[in-house]
Every structure is written in C-alpha cells, then in structure tokens.
C-alpha cells in the first residue's frame, strides 16, 4: 500500500484519539499499533509523534502519567480525557461525512 503523507498528516489526530479511546498507551506503543493495524500504511515519523501528543495534552484532550516498569525504564502513558472523547466524536463525525461525500463523487464518476 502506498501512503500519502498529506492524508496521513490530516488524519493522525483522529487515529491517536481513537487508539487511546481503547486503552492508555505510550508513544512507541502507539506507533507500533498504528503500523500493525493499518498493515504498514501508517508509519509515523517517530520524533514527530511527541510534539503532536504534547500539543493535544495542552489542549486538554489527553492526560499523561509516568508508569514504572519492572526491570525496564519507566514510560509515559497517555489517557484520553472527557474533552478528548468529545473531540474524537466530533472528528469521527466529520470524517464520516467527508468519506461519504468522497465516495459519492468517486462512485458517480465510475458509473
């Protein structure tokens, strides 16, 4: 699968919110999950994820906490906040409208 960096960039916030809606995760874990679940389509720049997470944390969508790991370095886990859930719902709705509109145009062109 070929990925379009601009499309990836535009949807990464939605994807991060969706991932964290399921369980708290640390940055590296998010990158792995995105890559695995998308069958390699979403390959985020590793250093680029953290500025995004921090910005979303500042906006109140995420909350972070350090967790000690037995025998391993501690990790910073991100949780979705109530505000983050509202943002996720808003972005999902927008995304569904967008994909439906794109489908309508693309399918009509094929006929």
């Amino acid at each position: 699968m070929r990925s379009d960096p601009q499309l990836v960039k535009g949807t990464v916030r939605l994807l991060v919110l969706r991932l964290l809606d399921q369980e708290p995760m640390y940055g590296y874990q998010m990158i792995q999950h995105l890559k695995d679940r998308s069958e390699g389509y979403f390959r985020l720049g590793e250093g680029a994820l953290y500025p995004l997470l921090h910005e979303m944390e500042e906006q109140g969508f995420l909350r972070a906490e350090w967790r000690d790991q037995e025998g391993r370095p501690r990790r910073r886990y991100y949780h979705l906040t109530a505000r983050g859930r509202k943002e996720l719902a808003r972005r999902l709705e927008t995304w569904e409208d967008f994909t439906r509109a794109v489908d309508l145009v693309v399918e009509a062109s094929r006929v």
Partner: protein
C-alpha cells in the same frame, strides 16, 4: 557517552526555551522511546551499535524535532518576547523611578503609608525600617538569586540602565544650584535601586513563570492587576500621591502591559477569553486611576491635578479605546468547532505527526 545520550544532549540543547522541568521530562520520554526501539531491533538479531544508530536515525534530526517540540509545548515556554517585554517593563519602571531622584512613584513610602502602617499600627520610623531591612532587602536578594540563575539579564538590565541614568543625571542634568553630594546619591542608588531592581526582576521572573501556564494566566493577571490597583489607590489616597507621576507611569507601563498580553496571546500562554478579560480589567483600572484623583484629592492637591490633565486625558482615551477594542474582539467570536464546515476532513495539524 552512548549514541542515545549524545542524541539526547543535542535534543536538550534545542529545548532551551522550555521550562527546565518540562524539557527534562521530554528528554526522558525520548530516551524511553529510543531504548525501546533499539531493544526491539536487537531482539530481531541486529548488532547493538547498528540498532542504536537506526533508532536514533528514525527519531529525526534533533534540531527539527526540538523545534516541533517547542511548538507542541507552548504552555511551558518562556517566550523570548515575554522575556524581552519583562526586561523592558522593569527597565522602564526604573528609568521613571530614577528620574524622580530615585523615589519610585509607587515607592516604599506610599506602600507603608497606605497599606502596611495601618495594618501593623507601627509608627512611621519603625515601620519603614522594619519593612525595608526586615522584608524588602532579604526578599529582594533571595528572589534575585533564584531568578538570576536563568534570567540574570532581567536583573542586570535595570541596574545597568539605572547606573547609566544615575551618572547621566549627576554629570549632565543637574542644575548648578542643586548641590547633592555624589557619594550620597551613590549610597541612595545602592540602597534603593539595587534591591528594588532585584525585587522587580524577581517579580518579573516569577510572573513570566506563572503566566506561561495557560491555566493560571487569567487568575494571575487578575491578582497582579488587583495588587497594582490596591497599591496605586493606596498611594493616591494616602496623601503621598502625585497625579503626574501616576500618569507618567501609566503612559510608560500601559503599552508594555498591552504588549505583554498580545505576546501572551501570540505565544498561546494566554487564552482568548483571558486576553479579553485581562485587557478589559486593565482598561477599567486605568479609568479608575483617572477618576480616583478627582475624589481622592481636595483643596490644593486637587488644584494640582490641573498639571496632570493632558496626561490623564491621554490615559482616559487609551483606556476607553482599549475597552471598545476588547468588546469588539469579544463580539467577533470565532466559529465554534460544531459549526465548522462539515465537508472538511480533519484539518492537517501542521505540527508533525
């Protein structure tokens, strides 16, 4: 030093504008990521050195990553604009203060007369000595030491400017018939300007630290405005007020505060609502300062207000304009997220990711 350590040192060097604690936290998070990634690569059979090099390479150029991290952590930044404005505010306050023969318009005398003396019940002499030697100087030195570690130049700026101003006043501006011994002036400078400089620098530093936390921005702005208002009104009503000085200070300091608020909005440590509320409160207080002397003074003092009339008029017009602008900004509310264009996809972040 391992390659990861080397990379993190480089990354840390690009986070100099951040609160040090936040910068350390970011570095720790990056370390955790890099170590996890290198361990994963090693477990796949890659030699340790190569695994580390690949993990570091995948994280990105430290300068670019650092720049993105600064953007993503705006609340924890000490923006250079803010620091510059804080230094300017302190310097201007001192220029005004020193121009009045080192008697600050809101000086110790006014503070003690208006606020502290009624509270402590002490007479003029003991109260002044107690406050100056027991509180002001130790607190000034302490705050100056704490603030000086990172913001030493904020403390240094007013002292340097004050020194230059002092010598310029002594050498070039004194009329020949005014005879004040240079030694006496120098001692007054050392006793008054340096501790006050340190105190102001410390307060500037403390304010910049607190204001960079967006959630504290509004309450801190309100508290600061209330303190300034209380001091100003105390000075005005305690008989030590000089309207011309207050007008001068307002004209010098008001643009600086406005710049501070604008810088805060631009650097995102002040919310839109915080900016509107702070600007409105500031303008309302400014108007109060114009109106208060009319009621606070009587007889000859009130007559002296005539001298300050042009200055007070300028301040009044500026405050009314500020209130109108704040109201216009409030009414020009941006569209809420719910009313945003439904056909648009999630907007590109523009900040990595």
């Amino acid at each position: 030093m391992s390659e990861i350590d080397d990379y993190l040192v480089q990354l840390r060097s690009h986070l100099g504008d951040l609160d040090p604690r936040r910068a350390e936290e970011i570095v720790a998070e990056a370390r955790s990521h890099l170590e996890a990634r290198a361990a994963e690569l090693r477990s796949g059979g890659m030699p340790a050195d190569e695994a580390t090099a690949r993990a570091v390479g995948a994280f990105g150029n430290p300068q670019q990553v650092g720049r993105d991290l600064l953007r993503g952590n705006a609340r924890h930044r000490h923006p250079s604009t803010l620091r510059a404005v804080a230094a300017l505010a302190v310097a201007l306050a001192h220029v005004v203060a020193l121009d009045r023969f080192m008697n600050s318009p809101i000086g110790r005398d006014h503070l003690i007369t208006g606020v502290i003396m009624p509270l402590t019940g002490l007479g003029w002499g003991p109260a002044a000595a107690l406050v100056e030697y027991g509180v002001f100087i130790p607190v000034s030195i302490l705050i100056g030491m704490i603030g000086g570690r990172r913001f030493w130049w904020i403390a240094a700026a007013p002292v340097v400017i004050g020194t230059v101003w002092f010598w310029a006043t002594v050498l070039f501006r004194l009329p020949p018939h005014v005879e004040i011994h240079w030694g006496a002036r120098l001692i007054r400078f050392a006793v008054h300007a340096v501790p006050r400089g340190a105190l102001l620098a410390g307060l500037g530093w403390l304010g910049s630290r607190l204001l960079t936390r967006r959630s504290f921005g509004l309450p801190i702005a309100v508290i600061c405005a209330s303190i300034v208002a209380a001091l100003w009104l105390a000075a005005l009503t305690a008989g030590g007020g000089r309207p011309w000085d207050h007008g001068m200070l307002t004209v010098f300091v008001l643009p600086v505060i406005v710049l501070l608020l604008v810088a805060g909005r631009r650097d995102r440590w002040l919310s839109r609502e915080g900016l509107i509320a702070s600007a409105s409160a500031l303008c309302a207080i400014g108007l109060l300062f114009v109106i208060a002397p009319v009621f606070a003074f009587s007889g000859e003092d009130r007559w002296a207000l005539r001298d300050a009339q042009p200055m007070l008029t300028v301040v009044a017009v500026a405050c009314i304009a500020g209130l109108v602008a704040a109201l216009a900004y409030y009414r020009a509310a941006p569209p809420s997220p719910a009313s945003a264009s439904p056909s648009a996809p999630s907007p590109p972040s523009g900040k990595g990711g």
